[in-house]
Symmetry: C2
Subunit: 307 residues, 2 copies
């Protein structure tokens, strides 16, 4: 089954009232939000990636979902396959770094063995508290679309990790993304809708629009690009369809300035679907808007939307 | 690293106050308990096992940890690798059955793709509420050790699933274990310590004694065996070292009768360690007390203790 069919089948099961019909990255349980992400070796990370960086990204991807809810990290659970001692030790070291960096303690977990030659599959479940953001479903016609930070650095960093030369700053964005927890806290009370950018700016903007029942137009010329990325062979369209940014994408009423540094990249209107332009010029949508949920034919890691 | 070393390394990281030093199967977050279990194809279940049974066992193993806390299921999150449509559909069907059977809704999750030929790795995280049991650390010298239900049926069921003829009732205990949620609720307020029996009666009794700082003696002749198991080539020692029973093991003060049907199988005394006897006769401990955390040299599934 593809992911959409699978999730549609799950929607027929008994759902928790906080499951929000499985349309968002986090569920709500009492005063807490819960979210979970799995990373698969050879799918979401490269077999050569350092274990400590994998630990960092696994936790950061989950905390980014908490950031999109405007929540504070309460703690994480880890499901970990024991393999070789060196990798395991480096993983624990990286785990300690990311937990300390974002003030997020370990609650528990489970360890397993894997059959020989099986890919590592790692899961972290994060629990957050004091969520203060609406979901991604609240964007309205007339809202502007904003994004924090810069886009595409992690995608370029992945290319650097795989084969190319390039600036360490881009590699670091791929290897050690920093979830926008403080920005999420500040934005939570004022935005109409918010999500993180984990699969690509365009696909995540499209999802927000679809979940909100409105149309969205993204202006490629406004997509914020880092100084490092400017010097790299990675155009704005590549940046806007690359994954792993872990920035925050949000809808604000026209005329309202966000309380954090961010860039306006588009606007919501009545209707459905995603449109693209570059300044005044319409741009045809690329075949691929971001990291979709299937093994990538180019062998690139693919991110996976939460339920 | 082996599991003990890995968990020892994790204990050096920032721990949540509800992590209980990673010594129990569930963590405590506010009014909730959280627990997580991962099942690996070829390690915890057989590649031939039906997908619906795998779904059932994955959820049941987690709910059994909630039962040991005397908690009510609040909901579960699922981390699922999409593979072939038939398996996926059968998994969702089994998931629906187990969620309905134990009144436990789905909160959310994550789907991923796997590289070709990789073993399926599935995770469920369960959240429970209103926990009313102490952990497994409270057994005292002078307490009696009790267990619900019968022991060894699932171990025999596994043997049947792999190669032998045998009664369907035993196979069902392996394929569709029933977590003792109602018993856990009734026992919670009266026991000194409680855990489930997931890795084997002897090893789980040993863990309870070690966690409580006391010694425990198990009387093999008292281990409750089902009528079906009596007719099967599976002695009491095999039963007491087999896994996947998902019964509840608990410590009660001497002379106190449990409020649910259960069998007294041993007693706690001052000291350390596990002793075994058969009536009055001391019995030497087997080399293997249960399902330890490493691929089994006999190729049998191995269970995995939670952190």
């Amino acid at each position: 089954m593809n992911e959409a069919d699978f999730i549609a089948a799950l929607r027929e099961l008994p759902l928790h009232r906080g499951a929000r019909d499985l349309r968002d990255d986090a569920g709500i349980v009492g005063a807490y939000v819960v979210t979970t992400d799995t990373l698969v070796e050879g799918v979401h990370f490269l077999p050569d990636d350092a274990a400590g960086d994998v630990a960092w990204k696994l936790v950061a991807a989950n905390l980014s979902d908490l950031a999109a809810m405007g929540a504070l990290p309460e703690g994480v659970l880890l499901n970990y396959p024991l393999t070789e001692a060196g990798w395991d030790r480096a993983f624990v070291a990286g785990l300690g770094e990311v937990l300390a960096a974002f003030d997020c303690p370990l609650i528990g977990g489970d360890t397993v063995s894997l059959p020989a030659d099986s890919a590592r599959v790692l899961t972290v479940t994060a629990i957050g508290r004091d969520a203060r953001a609406p979901s991604r479903t609240g964007a309205r016609a007339g809202d502007a679309l904003w994004v924090t930070g810069t886009i595409g650095d992690a995608g370029a960093g992945l290319a650097i990790a795989r084969r190319a030369e390039g600036p360490d700053a881009l590699l670091a964005r791929y290897r050690r993304p920093r979830p926008r927890l403080a920005e999420g806290r500040a934005l939570g009370p004022v935005v109409h809708a918010m999500s993180d950018v984990s699969d690509g700016l365009l696909i995540d903007a499209q999802r927000m629009a679809a979940a909100s029942g409105v149309a969205v137009t993204v202006d490629l010329s406004q997509v914020p690009i880092s100084r490092e990325l400017r010097g790299f062979a990675f155009d704005r369209l590549a940046a806007a369809t690359a994954g792993d940014d872990y920035e925050l994408l949000f809808a604000l009423p026209e005329g309202v300035a966000p309380p954090v540094h961010a860039t306006r990249v588009g606007s919501f209107t009545r209707g459905t679907g995603l449109s693209l332009r570059e300044g005044a010029r319409p741009v045809r949508l690329p075949a691929r808007l971001g990291y979709e949920h299937a093994p990538d034919p180019n062998g690139l890691p693919v991110a996976s939307p939460d339920l």
